[in-house]
């Protein structure tokens, strides 16, 4: 029991942190900065303990004597946990200045972030459908509140309402799916579902397949796949910058934790059933996302649109798994890592700039940015290149693996379409680079302030580059190879 406690530390520490912050938040004499540090402290404990746990799992299930097989322990979940906590830590650190520049932040904000991280961690460990639902709702409800945190701003409130109404409705789909699956299997644990799926022929599983499709709808909604995408741009736009950053980089990945587990392990025998459906959704997502991203004038909305396209690339990987591609699953993991790094960086820069002005930040506002902040502009360019999949960045390797997996599974058209949308994405990402570099500025070149946000963003930029070109030739410094090794470990630990 005490032994198992060690494996629970990551989650317990985040939960404790969330509760502590909630209790402290009514105190007026604690500054936001200190709240921030408290939150980071708990997240760091969690991060470090996850790092220690990684690869040393001795238990199959967490507190099996109490929860039976509700919470699974494997490297897959731990690697996702690492990303969640890292994403939250980076969000909090990068936005250290942003909190000060806006009046509406308070202690609850940090508590909610920790609650949503806790929800996501539950999600990655969940091995039972009702727990999945609860975890999803813990994470989502926190995010709904965070999106509308600026309650006097119309756009923000509208975004929250939109997200909450649509999100709750798709949550109902999830419940319905769970009910149907329970009707077919007689249990909601993933273990029993696997047994049932492996033992029954496809023709006799109508109820389960329908239930599974309902689960898929929820997942598609959460990752913003077309035609379930209508909320994404408005919500990303309405949310405060730190929350947009948190949603785009961290929350989106959390959904893939459960999606991959279900698709690769539990529905492995029948996942080819959804292949055509997934392919259709993928095509729509790639084209629709590109269309939305091209037509935006605000950079934040463009990034929101492009995040739909990135979901499309990930969906290419998922349908490749169904067609028997071996590299597809690690490819998705790698792409998630790559997207995580680039999204944290690019949204981080946006919110960093936003902390110094109250502007809406359209493309036009970036004119002459390279003259004002040359290093910041350089890093922004690096993140844009990585998102566009330009070689020498980690984004290129991510696309490389996704497209090879598509070719391997014989989906040449999807691979071609993916490359085509990558080409289209060059337009809207390079447009930002062009804005930053090609126009003169009226402002004087300021001195370059070095603070924690800039240091972190610079580190992210270095990792993005090194993850793309880093070679195993240089000993002791992990390069691109170690990222893909991590991705493979994660997939191999699934059971």
């Amino acid at each position: 029991m005490i032994n198992e406690l060690f494996f629970a530390i990551p989650m317990i520490s985040v939960l404790l942190g969330a509760l502590t912050l909630m209790l402290l938040s009514h105190k007026k004499n604690i500054s936001l900065k200190n709240f921030n540090y408290i939150a980071i402290f708990f997240l760091l404990i969690s991060f470090v303990s996850e790092y220690l746990i990684l690869g040393h799992n001795t238990q199959d299930y967490l507190f099996a004597s109490i929860f039976q097989h509700t919470f699974i322990l494997d490297d897959f979940a731990t690697i996702f946990d690492l990303m969640f906590t890292l994403g939250a830590i980076l969000t909090l650190l990068v936005n250290n200045d942003y909190f000060k520049s806006r009046t509406y932040f308070s202690g609850e904000y940090f508590s909610l972030i920790l609650f949503s991280v806790f929800g996501m961690m539950l999600l990655s460990h969940a091995h039972e459908l009702l727990t999945v639902f609860i975890a999803l709702e813990i994470a989502s409800l926190s995010i709904y509140t965070l999106v509308g945190f600026h309650k006097n701003k119309k756009v923000s409130s509208e975004a929250m309402m939109k997200y909450m109404v649509l999100g709750s409705m798709t949550g109902a789909f999830f419940m319905l799916g769970t009910a149907l699956i329970y009707g077919a299997v007689g249990s909601t644990t993933l273990e029993n579902i696997s047994l049932y799926v492996n033992a029954t022929p496809l023709e006799d599983m109508t109820l389960l397949v329908v239930g599974g499709s309902f689960l898929m709808i929820t997942i598609m909604f959460k990752i913003g796949a077309v035609p379930f995408h209508s909320w994404i741009i408005d919500v990303y736009h309405g949310a405060p910058y730190p929350i947009t950053m948190f949603m785009a980089s961290t929350f989106k990945i959390a959904i893939f934790a459960i999606a991959l587990r279900l698709y690769i392990v539990n529905f492995a025998q029948i996942n080819h059933f959804w292949t055509e459906m997934l392919q259709a959704i993928t095509i729509l997502t790639l084209l629709g996302g590109s269309w939305l991203a091209i037509s935006q004038t605000l950079v934040k909305r463009m990034l929101a649109g492009s995040s739909i396209v990135h979901s499309g690339y990930l969906l290419i990987g998922i349908s490749s798994i169904g067609l028997g591609s071996e590299v597809a699953a690690p490819a998705i993991m790698f792409y998630l890592i790559a997207y995580f790094l680039s999204a944290v960086g690019s949204f981080g820069i946006l919110s960093f700039i936003a902390s110094q002005s109250k502007k809406q930040m359209s493309y036009e506002d970036f004119k002459g940015f390279a003259n004002r902040r040359p290093y910041m502009a350089l890093m922004m360019s690096i993140f844009m290149l990585s998102l566009a999949g330009f070689p020498s960045t980690i984004g290129f390797l991510g696309k490389f693996y996704i497209f090879t997996s598509a070719i391997e599974s014989g989906q040449l058209i999807l691979a071609g379409l993916g490359i085509m949308t990558a080409f289209i994405s060059v337009y809207y990402y390079f447009k930002l680079i062009a804005m930053m570099y090609f126009y003169p500025t009226d402002h004087e070149q300021k001195k370059l302030p070095i603070d924690i946000s800039t240091i972190i963003i610079a580190m992210m930029a270095l990792i993005v580059i090194w993850g793309g070109i880093g070679t195993s030739l240089i000993p002791f410094i992990p390069g691109a190879d170690s990222f893909i090794e991590t991705a493979k470990t994660a997939i191999n630990s699934l059971k």
Partner: protein
Amino acid sequence: MENILTDIIFLPLLIAVILGTIRASLPLLRVGAIFSSLGTLALTLLLTYDFNPQEGMQFLVNATWIKNAGMTYNLGVDYLSLIILLLITTIMPLLYLYMLKERRKGYWYNMMLLQTGVTGAVLSLDLILFYLFWETMLLPIFIMIGKYGSGMKQYNSMKIVLMTILGSMSMLFSILYIGYIYFETTGVWSFALNDLSTLIFEAKTSIWLTAGFLLAFAIKIPLVGFHTWMAPAYGSAPTPAVVIMSAIMAKLGVYGIWRFGFTLFGSTLHFYEPIIIVLALIGLIYYAIVAITETNLRRMFAYSSGSHLSLIALGIFLSNIYAWGGSLYFIATHAIASAGMFMVIGLTYHRFQTININELGGIASKMPIFTFFFAFFALSIAGLPGTGGFVGELLIIIGAFKASFWVGVFTATTMLSAMVYIFWMLQRTLFGSSNNEVIAKDLSIKEILMLAPLVILLLLTGIIPSLFIPMFEPGLLGALK
């Protein structure tokens, strides 16, 4: 000596990164850039000294890069890459001399990055590595046109980037598919050219794969029909960028066909032979006609460059020793001549603030030395006997006649049409009465120093070709068998 190729590729980038991190002052930056170009020149000369013309690929570097994906860090140099490498390293110091007074720091950084990009593309023997450099060299061009260019610079730089990346993306698809075929046959991933050249493709697949590569190269050259980016980009780009684009990057399109096209899909390329030959023939005549009508010097020589690159592409696809030798020779001499020409055009702009033919005129009486260089480079582009261009063009034309009478006839018209636009242009720019009030100084010592090496090289290649041809002849004969 083992890592000499790595050093040549990454020296400029390394210096740029160091200077960028320490936020170097302008004089230091200047010294660093010039040092990087001279350093690579010295290393390349050392390499040339050790190069053995009788052998194929030399100075091979075989290292794993990203093991899981089968990407390797394979480098090597043979006669063709050596020629282009020598061109890059010779032109770079001269360009730095040209832009010595440039005060914008970004300019210098971009030039160093550009050198790493083009050098890497020439030396890499791994498809993904090649793709990496092929894309990387586009970035500095994008920034240089958009930031330091003239005219509709933002629009034109976006245009060149989008068109070129469209080509690269189709190439990427082919590369990935080839890698997959290799994986399917052997069970391991590899993108090394050595491994992939052992593959035999199904005829139908092969045709599609070749098309992916050819699109990228056709846009880069550019063959007629894929050329809409060319004149605007050349017109807007600052002089150093134009020089690199016309002298080096356009040649890389031909180089790509040669290195990757012939190695991977030797027989399939024959399928495309008639199409490319027809496109090249149309191109060399069409571009020449457009060049006659252009009044902007830069755009005129952009089309002239397109016309001559079509000639080179034509030579590559007429598989006989004359055409191949001529193409190789012309790659080098045209690069030198067009580098000189675009630099002289840049100098013209500095002096007269215009490069429109109608606003120039009567230069000869005022600036004799300038006139000499201007006329010399223009004439060597036209293929004046005694300059290197003549040797190259002549060899290609002989090769064309060997292949077919009519191809020969059409090919020979390049020389004629080039004479038409060059002489007419010279008459209107250098002679006649002056159409502007500018009182310009003749070339300074620095400018003479910058152009003289190119003149000497052109004369050497023109008068004693026997000095250079043995360098690549054994390799060519080997390749033809």
